[in-house]
Symmetry: C2
């Protein structure tokens, strides 16, 4: 997606060879018009698929997930990083390892929001090692749902999450794949 | 907003006289079509105001904030509940007390995203004691910005946050104000 790559080039900043800062339009300040274009692109790329629910993880996945859900006319469920005090009923959990923060945490979704037979689209802002996506897949499977696609805003192609998930047969649509980056340059996959 | 009140009545659940569960459409599963209507209502109610930025707090404020930002054509900044490892520069923080979770935490916004003279609209899913809104006001003020309005999806009118903020002169537009609730009934303010 050219508009997104342009934005990453202009406003993103590689803090190292693995950490990309896109806080001016994606995960701290959000540009709603860009997210709207992103949701349009997800709809186009998955136009041959039929989903009835979107899963994402709080917080940065929520904006693209909700705009995509609006276009597709389906609900969004976001996994929570801590089991909330008002979540009194049964829930599914799966562990996530954050390489950026160097810690493990569980994400949780109330069991009632995953229905056997659900055709799930996962949406997230980043795909790096794939830990978050694998957690959402695990949660979907606990509820008997099937993940039919994974929509990613920015994939770090130099880390192995995308490769691994594609080898497992998952359809991934990443709107921008970065093959290499340094403080001076960001190289996108064609 | 009648559509919202209807939804709260039909799908919300008062777990006690103070805890309202709206996880099927607002803060765990999200109904994007409802959020879209909510953003339309915020635009209409604040049509006499001019804002250049929306502030909210992760996570449940993000969906209504981003859809409102799209309609208003302005960026959204969400305060983070923990200072992220990639937030290396200066930031503003303010404390929030969560009565539901019975704990205090800081929220943070990178200083570069608050500009002197910004005309801020705060959007959040709930207003109860007003702690989250007051934190966002404090952050805005640290950056020399002015809060011109506060848009709330559900106000717990039986708690004092709304009263307090209105007495301080803030313009609050709450789409549904609950005056009283119990396990059997939810009473809205006219």
């Amino acid at each position: 997606m050219e508009l997104l790559k342009k934005r990453i080039t202009e406003n993103g900043r590689a803090l190292s060879e693995s950490v990309l800062k896109v806080d001016s339009f994606l995960n701290h300040q959000i540009d709603p018009a860009l997210i709207n274009e992103i949701s349009s692109e997800f709809c186009e790329r998955f136009s041959d698929c039929s989903f009835n629910k979107i899963l994402t993880i709080e917080s940065s996945g929520i904006a693209p997930a909700v705009m995509t859900g609006l276009r597709m006319g389906i609900p969004v469920v976001f996994a929570k990083k801590a089991k909330p005090s008002t979540m009194t009923e049964e829930f599914f959990t799966a562990p996530v390892h954050s390489f950026t923060k160097q810690k493990d945490y569980d994400v949780a979704i109330a069991a009632k929001f995953i229905t056997k037979g659900d055709r799930i689209l996962i949406i997230d802002d980043f795909l790096a090692h794939g830990s978050a996506s694998r957690a959402l897949i695990a949660i979907a499977e606990q509820g008997g749902a099937k993940v039919g696609g994974i929509g990613i805003v920015i994939e770090k192609g130099f880390q192995n999450g995308g490769k691994l998930l594609r080898e497992l047969g998952y359809r991934i649509e990443s709107l921008a794949i970065i093959d290499e980056m340094s403080r001076d340059s960001i190289v996108f996959r064609d």
